[in-house]
């Protein structure tokens, strides 16, 4: 990893500009290089892809089967069918009850984690090294032979009803739901929640059908990261997955985001804060495109970290908000940029003004070399931290595959961050973050904030 000595001096100089007699921090020593451990890849004849990486000094291994399916494969009338299927997959196999699975994994130091996302469903665990091969066999059994017991269906549906009710009570969830509806109308990315009636109607046939259509070796990848006996793991993977059907190839998902400028208000009477998402689609951008890293850097200057401009204004200059943050939410063919902030009700309008002013400023004036270098050092350091645990590495490897970029992406990441210039930041801001196109979604107390919102556009529901 390259961390510039000069950068620390810049930071120190900036710190000392106003108070000459103060003592300067000792400059950092020389940085060491970061290197990514080797990734071993092989494919099974049925199309399943495998990636193995030896990492770390804790005697554990993270094992993840990542299937290329999720909410993206639901149609409009079957939201959360992927989630219900993911829960039902955990209810036992043809030869093991759910309780046996739980007990066996507990004895390996692990637990079963099934995570259903928009584009991926992960069946995984983290176990002691000596149990890694046994855990692979268990994961294979769960993925290949789910029993889908009728006896559990009522309970699972009921659990999802409760979860739905609890999630919809949160102001963050309802603003997120709204902005997704705006950006992705009539598309899977735009559907966050089912109705209780839809949820209650799911049948075993529908669940089995979803599983049969969307699970199979040719759209699955196995990741093992940590300390493990590589020959034993390879043997277990080949033995336990070789006979799995290839399955149906994934359908091309409909993703066609649009920007929806305007103010959208979700009334929460009496709310002491306004929960805001302010953003727009940046659809063409992703890890495989040249604009991705410059846009990430621009975002970090603008609002992505503790020391970013919007964060400074909202939090440290005014005390309006606790943890405002902006980010580029990457998803295949449908990225968007958003500023996410919970602000005190009485400063809702003032906060939006600050946010837009900072966007405007970075669209008209490039950041200084010194400011940019600090942000680049931060992103480079974060990159090392985010590759410092088994689960982070497994997640990053899965992302490479999702976005069709090779491991050079990780090896070149730090260099590509440092290649971004102040002019690039300006260009990214001008190209992508147009204030005239922002959707401003606010969940808050209508009576207290309606007047504050009016200057930013016509208020819609």
């Amino acid at each position: 990893m390259i961390v510039s000595l000069a950068a620390a001096l810049f930071a120190a100089e900036a710190a000392l500009a106003q108070a000459v007699e103060k003592e300067a921090p000792p400059p950092p020593g020389l940085p060491k290089n970061f290197s990514l451990p080797e990734i071993r890849r092989f494919d099974l004849p049925n199309g399943m892809q495998v990636r193995l990486m030896q990492y770390g000094n804790i005697p554990k291994a993270t094992i993840r089967l990542v299937a290329q399916t999720g909410n993206i494969d639901e149609d409009a009338d079957h939201v959360w069918l992927a989630n219900v299927t993911g829960e039902m997959i955990q209810q036992g196999t043809r030869t093991r009850s759910a309780e046996e699975i739980a007990t066996q994994l507990a004895l390996m130091g692990g637990a079963l984690n099934v995570d259903v996302g928009m584009n991926q469903t992960t069946i995984g665990t983290d176990v002691f090294s000596e149990s890694a091969a046994s855990a692979v066999s268990l994961i294979a059994d769960i993925a290949r032979n789910p029993r889908f017991p009728e006896t559990e269906l009522v309970r699972i549906r009921n659990d999802f009803l409760r979860k739905l009710s609890i999630e919809r009570g949160s102001p963050q969830s309802v603003t997120q739901e709204k902005i997704m509806q705006l950006f992705y109308p009539s598309q899977p990315y735009g559907r966050s929640f089912p109705t209780p009636e839809v949820l209650q109607g799911y049948t075993l046939d529908q669940i089995r059908g979803f599983y049969d259509r969307n699970f199979g070796a040719a759209r699955s990848r196995m990741y093992v990261v940590g300390r493990f006996d590589e020959a034993a793991i390879e043997h277990a993977i080949r033995r336990d997955f070789a006979g799995w059907k290839a399955g149906v190839p994934p359908a091309e998902p409909a993703v066609n985001p649009i920007s929806r400028p305007g103010v959208y208000l979700i009334d929460r009477p009496g709310a002491v804060q306004s929960t805001m998402l302010i953003g727009l689609p940046v659809a063409g951008v992703g890890p495989s495109t040249p604009d991705y890293r410059p846009l990430m850097v621009a975002n970090a200057v603008l609002g992505g970290t503790f020391m970013s401009r919007i964060t400074w204004k909202l939090r440290e200059k005014n005390g309006y908000s606790y943890s405002p943050v902006s980010y580029v939410a990457v998803r295949p063919r449908g990225a968007y940029w958003v500023e996410d902030a919970d602000v005190a009700t009485n400063v809702t309008g003032a906060s939006i003004r600050e946010i837009i002013a900072e966007i405007d400023r970075l669209r008209t004036e490039a950041p200084s070399e010194a400011d940019l270098r600090g942000i680049q050092n931060f992103l480079a350091g974060q990159f090392v931290l985010f590759n410092s645990s088994r689960s982070d590495i497994a997640g990053n490897l899965a992302s490479l595959d999702t976005y069709g970029v090779g491991e050079d992406y990780l090896r070149n990441y730090v260099r590509s961050i440092y290649a971004v210039t102040p002019a690039d930041v300006l260009r990214m801001m001008q190209k992508y973050i147009d204030p005239a196109k922002l959707a401003i979604v606010v969940a808050g107390d209508r009576k207290a904030i309606e007047e504050q919102l009016r200057p930013f556009g016509t208020i819609a529901e």
């Binding site: 990893m1 961390v3 620390a8 810049f10 930071a11 710190a15 300067a24 921090p25 400059p27 950092p28 020593g29 020389l30 940085p31 060491k32 290089n33 970061f34 770390g56 000094n57 005697p59 554990k60 759910a98 007990t103 994994l105 507990a106 390996m108 130091g109 983290d126 002691f128 000596e130 149990s131 009921n158 409760r162 009710s165 609890i166 009570g169 949160s170 102001p171 209780p196 709310a271 804060q273 503790f306 020391m307 400074w312 440290e316 200059k317 005014n318 005390g319 309006y320 908000s321 606790y322 005190a344 600090g374 942000i375 931060f378 480079a380 350091g381 974060q382 931290l385 410092s388 645990s389």
Partner: protein, 437 residues
Amino acid sequence: MTAPQLAPATIPLEYHTLSNGLRVVLWPDHASPRVTTRLDYGVGYRVEPKNRTGFAHLFEHLMSQGSRNLGKMEHIKLVQSNGGVVNMSTQSDFTTYGDIAPSNMLRTILWAEADRMKGLDISEANLGIQKGVVSNEVRVHVLNRPYGGFPWLDVPQAANVNWYNAHDSYGDLADIDAATPEAAYNFFTTYYAPNNASLAIVGDFDPAEAMAWVNEYFGAIPSRPQPPKADISEPRQEQEKRGSRTDDRVTRPAMAIAYHAPQAETDAYYAMALINQILAAGKDSWLYEAIVRKRGLTGEIEGTMYFYGSMFDNNGPSLYTIDLFHDPDKSTDEILRAIDENVDRLRTQTIDEATLARARVKMRAAFYNDLERDYGFGRANLLAGFALFYDDPARINRIESRFAAITPELIRKTAQEYLRPANRTIFTVVPKTKRVK
């Protein structure tokens, strides 16, 4: 199943105490080119002044508002703009300041941490802004959130009787608003002293070089007399308590069952952690099987030894808490009965060796997770905590043997005393209107 060798035990740690009382733990680990520091001060939620609730936490924010040689937010900027991250947290018995950075930053970080131990720049303006930030933190985490502070704020207030344990530690917004720079300054000079602090350094560094820097930057900071420790003990509870509040933003009730737990670091405390593994941790636990799988009373159940961190972060009275969310057509008492059937098994029967062995394996996995937590803060966190609480960071290498020594008989005795119905508080959050949807 054989226990794998615990990796950290193979690396010897170094422990020093400076003449001003600062405890320093060094644990070199060259696996990756980064270093973690954790500076704990022995002051937390419990001991803040009675008319200054939330002060310990507000103070954590003030520590980033400028020190002798660094301006507002410059500490964070110095670390971040050199590739690192900061992590600060206020807990019941300590407040901690952590930095993770590329290993070439160690000297700079030690200088910066020492700089804010030497002196703070608390202006009226900065204090005012941080009151706003903290108020917004309380709003986003409690006041504007369904279920608010359930269970982590509600339960200690309902179950404890000693003010130190029972007050709203996040703070009353009015109390936060009333804080003055003088009060902040007094708090700092009292508690932020080297003899009330411990520093752990973990990662890629040379111990001799690191100690030279520690001596250079921290060595001359004078120790200060500490006030007598407050009495934070809780009396033995002799009668079950109930507490409740309504929340008009929710449709599903929530309930917590909180038992006063054994004193930290006693054998019974370790037994309690194993009881949690048997009773409520994971999908192989007794309660998951009984309450979730068999009866469908809830979708998940949570057992917690300590709300703010790992079980080793606690150094006083604590609560072992079980919590869950359920549907309005099931009563608290119906769920309680189902839970009690399992709790009673632990109190009246002696568990078999296989059950205990599985609990130990799960506990070891949980302990590894503690070590690895938060990008590596976990290990430094345990070392700084053990140095601060017990002057004995090497405890980290004895945790597994402590768990190994717990017998089925001690599990039963611990359950008998601590899982008594009279020793618990049932706390519920109920929807204002009982809508079924």
